[in-house]
Symmetry: C2
Subunit: 202 residues, 2 copies
DNA sequence: GGTGCTATTTTGACGCCGTCAAGATTCAAC
DNA sequence: GTTGAATCTTGACGGCGTCAAAATAGCACC
C-alpha cells in the first residue's frame, strides 16, 4: 500500500483527518500541530493548507466527526416513556462512556478552542445543534407536560445536558470528581433528572 | 507615582498579577503571553521569570485569586434549612453571575489549561478543594439524610456543582445556551436541585 | 566608605508554532 | 501536446516560552 516518494499524495485529506484523530487522542489538542501532522503524513509543512483553510478548519472537521458519532450513539439507546428510569440510566452511562473513551475528542467538541477562539464553522454548528435537537426529540416523550408550557421540555433538555456536560468536564479535567466516584455521582444525576421529569409542582 | 527608567521595578510581582488579570479579562488566556505582559509592565521579556517559575505558575496564581473570590462569595449567601428554596435560588444566580462577570477568569479556574496541561500546583489545588468543601459544608444542612448513607450530601454536592458548572460552560462557550435562556434554565436547575434535596425515595 | 553576596533585570539565542508568498511538479481536459 | 488547475515544495516572517550569561542594583557587614 505505501507509495513512497510520490509528489502527489493522492489521499492527503483523509490521511490528515485520520492522523489528526490519532494525534489528538494521544497528545491532546496541545500536541496537535499542523507541522507535526504534516510530518506524520510524510508531506511538507504547508501541504495541509491545500485541504484545510487553516488549523481551525481542520479541528472543526475533527469535532464534526465526533458529533456524528455522538448523534449515532444517542439513537441507539432505547427509551420507554412508561418507565423512563432504565433507559435514562443507560443513556447517562453511554454519554459518560463516550466522553471518557476519547477525552480529548470530547474536549475538542465542546471546548472553547473551537467555540470561542476560532469560529465554529457552519458545518460544525449544524451537526452540533442537530445533536441537541436529537436529544430534545428523544427526551420530549418522557416529560410530563405542565399546563400549557411548551418550553418545559426544552428547559429540561438544556438543564440535563448541562448536568451531563458538567459531570464530564469535572471528571475529565480531574477537578472535583475522581474516576472511582463516577458511578455513584452519575446515578445521583439520573435521580436528579428523574425527579425533574415528573409533573412540575406548584 | 510612576518611576520611569528604574532598573529595579520594585513591585513587579504584584504588577504582573494585576496586569495579567486585566489582560486575561480583555483578551482571554489565548491573548495572555508573558512577553506582552512584560511589555505592559515596562520590563524586559524574561524579567517575569524571577517572580514566577514559568507561565503555568503565573496562571495558577491568577486562578487562585479567583477561587478565593468564589469562596468569599459562597460565604455571603444565606441558606435556611427550613426553607431552602430562596437561598438556593440566590446561590445559583450568584454562581452564574460570578462566572459571567469575568468569563475568562472562570475558564482559567476550571479549564483544562491548568488542570490537565500544566500541573495545578499545590496552592491552587488547596484553595480549589477548599472551595468545594465549603460548598459541601453549606449544602449539608439542606440535605435530608437517607437511612445511614453518609455519602449522600457529598454526591449531591458533586452532582449539583456539576450542573452549575455545565450551565456555565455551555453558556460561556456559547454552545447550547444563549444569554436570554439563562434565567429560565437556571430556574430549572434550581428545581432540579430542590427535588434532589428531598428525602431519597425508594 | 568600601566589599562582597544576592536579588533583580537585561540581551541573546534556540526551537517550536501558524501562515503567507512564490516557485516546482503533476494531473486532467482539450 | 498544450494549457490550466490542483497539489506540493522551499523560504520567510513574526510570535511564543524559556534557557544561559552578563549587567546592574540593593543591602548587610566590615
Amino acid at each position: 500500500m505505501p507509495r513512497p516518494a510520490r509528489y502527489h499524495h493522492g489521499d492527503l485529506h483523509d490521511t490528515l483527518l485520520r492522523e489528526a484523530g490519532i494525534l489528538l487522542r494521544e497528545q491532546g489538542v496541545e500536541g496537535l500541530s499542523l507541522r507535526r501532522l504534516a510530518e506524520r503524513a510524510g508531506v511538507s509543512r504547508t501541504a495541509p493548507y491545500h485541504h484545510f483553510a487553516d488549523k481551525n478548519a481542520l479541528l472543526c472537521a475533527l469535532a464534526e466527526q465526533g458529533f456524528r458519532r455522538l448523534d449515532a450513539m444517542m439513537g441507539e439507546v432505547a427509551l420507554d416513556p412508561a418507565d423512563p428510569e432504565p433507559g435514562l440510566r443507560r443513556f447517562v452511562r453511554a454519554y459518560l462512556r463516550f466522553a471518557s473513551d476519547d477525552p480529548e475528542q470530547y474536549e475538542l467538541m465542546f471546548g472553547r478552542t473551537l467555540w470561542k477562539g476560532g469560529h465554529p464553522g457552519a458545518g460544525l454548528k449544524g451537526v452540533a445543534y442537530g445533536c441537541f435537537r436529537h436529544y430534545l426529540v428523544r427526551l420530549r416523550p418522557l416529560v410530563s407536560r405542565g399546563e400549557g408550557d411548551d418550553t418545559r421540555p426544552l428547559r429540561l433538555a438544556q438543564a440535563s445536558w448541562a448536568t451531563l456536560h458538567g459531570l464530564c468536564r469535572l471528571l475529565l479535567d480531574g477537578i472535583y470528581l475522581r474516576r472511582e466516584d463516577m458511578e455513584a455521582v452519575s446515578d445521583q444525576a439520573v435521580d436528579l433528572m428523574l425527579a425533574a421529569l415528573r409533573p412540575a409542582r406548584r
